[in-house]
Each structure stands twice: as structure tokens, then as C-alpha cells.
Amino acid sequence: MSSDAGSIPAASKIVINDREKLYKLRRGIPKLALAFSLVFLFLNVFSAPQSQPVLRISAQDYDNYSRVTIQSSQPLSSSIEQNDTFVFVKIRANTPFRIQRESFRSRFIKSVGWSQGSGSYTLTIKTEHENFSLDSFKVQNPPRLIIDIHPNKGQDPPIAETNRSGTNPQTADPECIVIDPGHGGLEAGAKGKFGTLEKDLTLAIGMKLAEIVRQTRASNVVLTRDRDVDVSLEDRSAIANNNKATVFISVHVNGSYRKGAAGPETYFLSKDATDEESRRLAFMENNSKELENNIQAEDEDLIKMILWDMAQTAYLKQSSQLAEDIQSELNLLWGTRNRGIKQAPFKVLTGVACPAVLIEVAFLSNPQEERKLLTEEYQRKIAEAIYEGLAKFLRENSH
């Protein structure tokens, strides 16, 4: 391959074969070779079992609950019933599903079975104890139904202590709030009409927020930067993970081509397939040695994807709640109403293993908001509003 191949992004290993084919196409390699690759392509296309929708069932333990994830390639319509030690999940299906069930070990779930009825499938989750509460929610792209089984107090089997995953922040570790003032150093971020730089505002607000948290709570506070320096997006999330962050808050100021754009927005990571794909690729990249020798092991691939998928969705609900708590405080401050919380694939949030949000406190591209943002008073008010939202979230999530 020529030097062009060097530009293939590292994360696109999976498609490399096709891209090689494309490059060959361009270079006019003998037609017979082309025909062969075309045959290969055709065979690949036709052999892919794309028509039949798949239902993937997996289960995993967290510190004080177990989670069953049902992932489908099409929207799920379902009902859930709880009876004794059983949870019955009825999933309507117009066409037959291909069921893929992952083996699992769980403290709270004994088994997961399924049966096919007319126009529906019934999943039977058998729990260890009848004294549990259920929590279920749906996530899109790909459609997933997530069922959390919380054993009620006094039901934790003793192995719980030794089998702790260690990723859940609500355990013995002291509360640690990681505050990430966006941009810095050469990377200035958005610029205002009066010359205000996003990196300066994020630092000012981030430092004020850190100060409030320190004064109000007995928790560790870590800033990803406390000066005007460059910090890579990966390092920011690494700082959160290394400090076993309870919560990660990235502070930014927005910029838009629309002069009229105004108001705060709070984001959490969108969990669409885009993300999953990237995380899956990143994950496989890290484990590529084994996988490269094992390329046809589609199942392996699938298992990794599911594991990764679970790691992601673990904080989805909490991040969304944190975003909501902070956004409503900011709405109060700015007198805004309609701007809700949003999901977007922010790079800095992708690697964070705890509830994480990114706050766009206002628009720097809006001269009126820029003027307000420049005042110490408003910076403080914003920091206080963020703190109020954070405190509410921590109250709701203290066990």
C-alpha cells in the first residue's frame, strides 16, 4: 500500500479491508482481481444475516443492584411484571427474533430464560430473593430495555463484599467532585465580540465552583486545570477516573453562528450507536492482539461489545439526572425555560467512568450574555447555580 494507507484512522481497523479494495479500485488493478474482490463483496453482503432482528440479553452486577439489558435492532414494545422471585418481561414481536443470550454470574439473578409465544417473547428473570424492587427504563440507538433489580435492605449475600466491581462511586470512597474548566493554553475555545475567551471564563467559573464545593462539603475537589494550560481531553477524563470521581462536571461557554443564540444548556453523553461503535473500536484496539488472530470470531466481538455497552449505560441515568438538576438551576438563574438537557457525543465525556455532564453556561457569541459573563457577580451566580444542582443530585443519590 502507498502512503495513503497511513492516513487511515486508527479506529477504523474494521473497515480496512474495504478501504483497501477501494484504493485498489482507483489504481486500476487488473480486472480479474477486481472481479474476485467483487465476488467476495457480494458473498459478504448476502451472507450477512441482516434481515432477522436480534434480541441480545445480558446481565451484570453492580455494587448494590443487578442489571439485565435487552438490546434489539428494532424498537422494543414491552411490559414487565413482578411476581414472587420472578420478573416476566413480555416483548411484542411481529417478526421472529434471533435470541442471543450471554452467560453471566450474578449475586441477585439466578437465571434468565425466554420463551416464544404468538407475537411475543417472554423473558423470565429469576431472582435470588423475592424481596426486591424493580427499576426499568429504555434507551435508544440501538433500542435497549434496561431492568435494574435492587434487592431490598438486608438481602445482600455476604459475597457482595468480595465481589465488588469498584466502579460505582457510591461506596466507601470519599466523595470526589472533579471540575473541568474547558479548553486552556493554546486552545482558547469560543471567542466573544468584546474579545472574551471561553478558556478564561471556564477557568473563572470552575475555580469559583471548586471553592463553593470545598467550603460547603466535606469532599475532595479536583480541578483538571487551575491555570491557563493545555490539558488534553483524554487527560481530563483520566484525572476523573484516577481520582475515582463521584461526579465529573465540565464547564464550557457556548458559541454559535446564530447571533440570537442564548441561554444555558447541559449535556450528557449521547449513547447512540455512534458512540458505541467508537467505544467498541477503542476497546478492541486495546485488545487487538488477541482479536486480530481471531477475526472470524464474531461472537467474541459481540461479547466485548456487550460488556462495553454495559459499562457505558451504567451511568446513563445518573448523568441525565445530574444534567437535569443543574439545568433547572441554570434556567432559574437565566430565566430560561425551554432549553432542556441534551445529549451529544462530547469527546471529553466519552472516557469518564462516573456520572458526567458538560455545561454550556451561556453563549459567548451573544454580546449581551458576553457582557454578563464578564462580571464576577455573574460568574459567581453561575457557579452557585451549578453547585445547587450538584448538591441536589448528591442528596438524591446518597445511600
Partner: protein, 192 residues
């Protein structure tokens, strides 16, 4: 037994030959340099007489709200998906004709575009898309999703869009949205 294998082999060979013939006939569509195939370019000019213009829909941000807005445009259909997709992008780079905002710096050029069989479009822009880009999450999102939505909406086989800059992968346009993984279109940010 052996006879059976022979029959299968013959069938496969026949299939191959048929594919070779099909490929040679359609050569012009897969080749970026159609001049190498005189017969192919002839057949193209013959069919040109019947070509009708095609309506594509581009997605642009507007001054009035935070949504993307549709703008229809007539183009002459291209001979391959990749060329068609390139056309969509160059129309997008030309900006709106109806007064919507241009989310991509006007100096930006499309360097290359290809589509894999999995339906991932790799769109390679010149570095102005990053260097001259207005910084800010909203600005980044409107640029990215005007590209992703316009491509996916008009070129149906495109399921995901991977944005490359200067021939390689970049982390973000300006410190916010993750470019290291492909995007799927989001249509709920489009005005009704």
C-alpha cells in the same frame, strides 16, 4: 461425488464470469477515470439524454432557531454513489440559496469521499473546516450534523459518516464533539 464437486465448481466459475461481464459493462460507474473505458463513457453519454434532474435536500442552520432547515436543490444525477455524495457536499459547501446560515467555513474544500460496503461514508475535508471554524459546541454541532444529515438523507446506503480532516482522523473540530467515531444522522434537530 466428484461429479457433484465439478458441477459446483463450474457453477462458481460461471458466476464469476457473469460478474466479470457485469463489472466490465458497469466499469464506468466504479472508475474515477472513465476515459480508460471508452465503451463505458459512450454508454454514459447515450443515457445522458434521458437523465432527469434530481432533487436533493440540504440541511442548514437558521438564524431564527436552533434547528436545521431543509433546502431543496436540483442536481444532475452522477454515475456513482460516491460522486453523488461528493455533489451533495459541494452543494452544502456552496452555502444556502435561501438565506440560511453556512455552518462550514467557505474556504473549506472536499478532498475525498468514499463509501464502504457497510455504509460508512468517509468524508475528507481540507483543514480550513477546523482552522477557520467558529469555536463553540453549537457551531460544531451544526457543522457536523448539516454534513451528516445531508449525506445520509440523500444517499440512502450511507448509514454513518466519518469526518476526516486533511486525510486523517482528528479528535474534534474545536474541542467539543468527538470526531473519532462515525456519526449517525439525527433528524429530530430538523425543523418540521
Amino acid at each position: 461425488m466428484d461429479k457433484k464437486k465439478l458441477v459446483i465448481l463450474a457453477a462458481l466459475l460461471l458466476f464469476l464470469v457473469v460478474l466479470v461481464i457485469i463489472y466490465l459493462n458497469l466499469g464506468g460507474t466504479a472508475k474515477p477515470k472513465p476515459t480508460q473505458f471508452i465503451s463505458a463513457s459512450q454508454s454514459e453519454s447515450e443515457s445522458e439524454e434521458q437523465i432527469e434532474s434530481l432533487t436533493i435536500i440540504l440541511f442548514f442552520p437558521s438564524e431564527h432557531d436552533s434547528l436545521l432547515h431543509r433546502e431543496a436543490r436540483e442536481i444532475i444525477p452522477e454515475s456513482s454513489l460516491a460522486l453523488q455524495a461528493k455533489r451533495v457536499i459541494s452543494e452544502l459547501l456552496n452555502g444556502s440559496q435561501r438565506g440560511f446560515l453556512s455552518p462550514i467555513p467557505p474556504e473549506t474544500r472536499l478532498r475525498e469521499l468514499y463509501i464502504t460496503k457497510e455504509g460508512v461514508a468517509y468524508v475528507d475535508f481540507s483543514r480550513e473546516i477546523m482552522d477557520k471554524h467558529l469555536s463553540g459546541s453549537s457551531a460544531e454541532m451544526s457543522a457536523i450534523y448539516s454534513i451528516v444529515n445531508s449525506l445520509s438523507y440523500n444517499i440512502k446506503p450511507i448509514k454513518k459518516v466519518f469526518i476526516l480532516i486533511d486525510g486523517g482522523e482528528k479528535k474534534t473540530l474545536g474541542g467539543h464533539i468527538d470526531l473519532t467515531s462515525p456519526f449517525q444522522p439525527i433528524y429530530d434537530i430538523v425543523a418540521k
